[in-house]
């Protein structure tokens, strides 16, 4: 306490222009940074103020408010500081740093040293000479020059006077003052030396303050180092951490371990010392990623092995990382467009037969990956003619007439739209569901005009809404080797079962072999189709493909046909 008191008193003049405060408390003695130059002297009354920080809950604004605790009576005053007393009850509540306010009237006090100078001036009138030296004026001038100066400068100024006026009548008084100033300097230096903080003293002071902080804030951790709680951060930003070292004497080195949750190992970085009692470090932005951060701190004493101080390798602390909202650049190979047409001839007579159809589709797809792997949307047309195989094959007139002369074939046109959702159960297992709807026109009269039901003559045409769907399962890598199994049905058009095997015998040559079982284009006899489709990917974003198919509803009801496609990948 003594050391501190000396220090504060030495420092008091530096605060002459600041707000009046209690510099120190020593029992009933209370030292104030107000003095005679502030109009304070013995008997002056000071009001003791405490400050409180209050926050308006409606605005969130904090304000500093002061309130009076009681009155202090000044016992003695110096030029810039005073000693005051308080009653016993109030004295217990006074703390260094408290603000005070003068409540009695200001008075003017005479500097005793200045008065002495004036008095000596009157008592020592020099004898008039031809060149009289005004010793008093010189001494007064020197005195004025020393006011407000540190003792070293005062000594220098007085020595300057003695050199300039060696016969000064004030020489003895000045030499006495010089001795006094030198003594004061010695006392000050001794006090400062005692106040200088050694490492041990700092550690003790910090430990003491840490204990006080823990008492004031019960949420402060009691570990060797203390960290503020942190729950959430945003991703991709470095996270600076700072720790209070509660016991600096026990600290040699400290290490921060951090990792993104799910990573195998922790990244280690040494924490750097900072300020009075702190350690600081940083978790790099590449670690601040979803779903969160795991971290802990190890501390090594000056002579010893590092041990966990906050968290540990097996029980790290965690920080949640918010979802990233930054938009990644467009990912390549996420969209696919294909335009394909397939001509199917079951009876080998091409356009002159009664079991042929074509199907054209424009398909647009995008792979979102999550939560739905891909979405496709398309528009298609299936148009053709079909009928009972037995009638088609056995009609000697080749007009699809039965033995009674009835025409039994139908010409259908189905224009439809669809959407398809692909969901991945596992990385190599995908399920694709495709509902579709369209307009189905059926012409039951014999005609060679494939578009008759779309023309003015709608005789024999029936129109209905064609509802249907298709479900497929893909096993394997979508863009490499995979097997697709599927089944589909459309009202009025028929059923389609298929198995398709896709692979890349060469990186630029996608190949697909498909087996289909279908009764399309009309719901009659089932047949089998074998389809080979070969593409050539010369460009990264486009490749054409051609297909050849063989199909049969029986061994004598077969045909070969083909198709083509244009595929765009971006």
């Amino acid at each position: 306490m003594r050391t501190l008191l000396i220090v504060l008193l030495l420092a008091a003049p530096a605060y002459a222009d600041s707000e009046p405060v209690v510099l120190a408390v020593d029992g009933k003695d209370i030292y104030i940074n107000l003095g005679a130059k502030d109009g304070i002297g013995a008997g002056a009354q000071l009001e003791l103020l405490h400050e409180v920080v209050a926050t308006d809950p409606t605005t969130g604004k904090a304000l500093h408010d002061r309130f009076a605790l009681g009155t202090l009576a000044v016992a003695r005053s110096g030029d810039g500081a005073s000693l005051a007393h308080a009653d016993e009850e109030l004295a217990k509540r006074v703390l260094a740093g408290d603000h005070v306010r003068l409540v009695s009237d200001k008075k003017t006090y005479v500097d005793p040293w200045a008065a002495q100078v004036e008095a000596s001036k009157a008592a020592a009138q020099p004898a008039p000479t031809s060149a009289p030296i005004d010793h008093a004026a010189l001494a007064r001038e020197a005195w004025q020059a020393t006011l407000g100066q540190p003792p070293e400068q005062r000594i220098a100024r007085w020595q300057e006077l003695l050199a300039a006026d060696p016969s000064s009548t004030y020489r003895r008084a000045i030499e006495t003052e010089l001795t006094s100033l030198r003594g004061q300097i010695q006392q000050r230096d001794a006090a400062l030396a005692r106040a200088r903080t050694s490492t041990d003293d700092r550690a003790a002071r910090i430990a003491e303050l840490s204990v006080a902080l823990s008492k004031a804030d019960p949420f402060v951790e009691r570990a060797l180092i203390a960290a503020a709680p942190i729950d959430h951060v945003v991703p991709d930003q470095a996270l600076g951490l700072a720790f209070l070292v509660r016991a600096p004497a026990k600290l040699g080195k400290a290490f921060l371990y951090s990792r993104t949750r799910g990573e195998v190992g922790f990244h280690r970085s040494e924490l750097r010392r900072d300020g009075d009692a702190y350690l600081r470090g940083e978790i790099p932005p590449q670690t601040v990623q979803e779903p969160g951060i795991e971290w802990y701190v190890e501390i090594a004493p000056p002579q010893g092995e590092a041990e966990p101080a906050l968290g540990s390798q097996t029980a790290p602390r965690t920080i949640e990382v918010a979802h990233a909202v930054a938009e990644p650049p467009p990912a390549p190979d996420r969209s696919h467009v294909d335009l394909h047409v397939d001509y199917v001839d079951f009876d080998g007579k091409l356009s002159k037969g009664f079991d042929q159809y074509y199907q054209a589709e424009a398909d647009f797809g995008y792979r979102f990956l999550d939560p739905i792997y891909a979405v496709r949307l398309g528009f298609g047309t299936l148009s053709g003619v079909g009928g009972p195989k037995s009638v088609i094959d056995h009609d000697p007139t080749n007009m699809c007439l039965d033995t009674n002369g009835r025409y039994l074939c139908k010409r259908v046109t189905f224009s439809y739209v669809y959407t398809e959702l692909e969901y991945r159960i596992r990385p190599t297992v995908a399920v694709m569901v495709r509902p579709q709807i369209g307009v189905l026109s059926t012409d039951e009269l014999p005609t060679d005009d494939a578009n008759k039901c779309q023309s003015q003559d709608t005789t024999g045409c029936r129109f209905l809404t064609g509802l249907g769907g298709r479900v497929r399962v893909r096993l394997g890598d979508e863009q490499a080797t995979n097997l697709v199994l599927g089944a589909g049905f459309t009202r009025g058009v028929g059923t389609l079962l298929e198995a398709a095997y896709h692979w890349l015998p060469a990186p630029v040559v996608p190949v697909q072999i498909t087996v289909q079982v279908t009764d399309q284009p009309v719901i009659e006899d089932f047949g089998v189709r074998l389809i080979g489709d070969v593409g050539y990917r010369r460009l990264g974003w486009f490749y054409p493909s051609v297909r050849v198919s063989y199909q049969a509803r029986s061994l004598d009801h077969t045909g070969v046909s083909g198709g083509m496609a244009m595929n765009f990948d971006w």
Partner: protein, 341 residues
């Protein structure tokens, strides 16, 4: 001790520039995060506070101007410095003092290496920042779009429409993502029945509307539109809604519906992809009764559109469509442009 103290009371001034001058110690647990809009209070324990003038020097991250906040002591004994309500990305501070000799004494961090208290922006704030950057902080847009489709007809009768809209949009980029108002015109002819001698009167509607877009989730948008219309039959209204899964400026799926009094409803599903930047492509399946068709419910077309941003302010788009209503399918198309400012 008292004698010495009294002696020193009369020391007029003391130079404290000595490097061994007495210093305070500041002990606090540095906060790492703070809630947006809440003041940041530093609670500390100090000793020898009279030895220095202690302050917290702070600034908002990104603002070069530093500010000082002195410590104040509470009646409970601790010391407090309250920094003002913080905004993302945070507030940076350091603690230092100035001793009697005028020497600056660091206690925690420094101006060159301040400690940052992170203020986590809300999700909406983060999304708004992204939107602002993506749009070069251009909050307003005027767009002009014209689209037409010819359905064709089995009897060679006209069955087509053309629709044009001018829309002003102001972007907030919050949950209320944008608002807009506009004016539109639809006109066309469609047979009153599926017959060769069916009449094909002119159907038209001119309408004004207000619309909003809500961002309910980073990747879910809902558009709504209400308006008033006047058609060949008189006064009416218009309404429109659309759900976007994904982001309208990136790959997404959109489903929507539109109704114009006297001209009928439209429904659509649209897939958009951004995989060939700077081009944005989309494919739509549209089922529509425009322009007030009654002869068939099967007016459907497939539209393929491309948008291209010429400059940060100007974008253009084009569309081709193909689809039938009563008879063979025919083509349509559209053009549009948008100016941001």
């Amino acid at each position: 001790m008292t004698k010495l103290a009294l002696l020193l009371l009369f020391v007029p001034a003391v130079a404290l520039a000595d490097t061994a001058a007495p210093h305070a110690l500041v002990v606090h647990v540095p906060p790492v995060e703070a809630a947006a809009g809440e003041p940041v209070t530093l609670e500390a324990m100090l000793d020898a506070p009279y030895a220095e003038q202690l302050v917290v020097t702070w600034h908002e991250v990104g603002d070069p101007a530093w500010h000082d906040e002195p410590f104040a002591r509470s009646s409970a004994g601790a010391w407090f410095a309250t920094l003002p309500p913080a905004a993302p990305p945070g507030i940076a501070y350091f603690i230092h003092g100035r001793d009697g000799g005028g020497v600056d004494v660091p206690h925690f961090a420094s101006a060159q290496d301040p400690h940052v208290v992170h203020v986590e922006p809300s999700l909406v704030d983060r999304l708004e920042d992204l939107d602002r950057g993506r749009n070069a902080d251009l909050r307003n847009e005027i767009s002009v779009d014209v689209a037409a489709h010819d359905f064709g007809n089995r009897f060679g009768l006209p069955d087509r429409f053309i629709r044009g809209e001018v829309v002003y949009t102001h972007r907030f980029w919050r949950v209320l993502h944008e608002v807009g108002f506009g004016f539109g015109d639809v006109s066309g002819r469609t047979p009153e029945m599926s017959a060769a001698d069916a009449s094909t009167p002119l159907h038209a509607s001119r309408y004004g509307f207000g619309q909003i877009r809500l961002r309910l989730h980073p990747s879910v948008f809902v558009d709504g539109r209400l308006g008033l219309a006047v058609s060949q039959n008189g006064f009416g209204g218009t309404a429109r809604g659309q759900l976007t899964l994904g982001k309208p400026w990136r790959s997404c799926v959109q489903v929507g519906a539109d109704y114009l009094s006297d001209l009928g409803p439209s429904l659509w599903a649209r897939l958009q992809w951004d995989t060939a930047p700077p081009v944005l492509m989309g494919a739509s399946v549209v089922r529509t009764d425009l322009p007030g068709a009654v002869l068939s419910r099967f007016g459907v077309y497939l539209a393929y559109d491309i948008a291209y941003r010429l400059t940060p302010r100007v974008s253009v788009k084009g569309q081709v469509s193909y689809g039938p209503r009563d008879g063979s399918a025919h083509f349509g198309g559209g053009l549009g442009t948008a100016l941001s400012f």
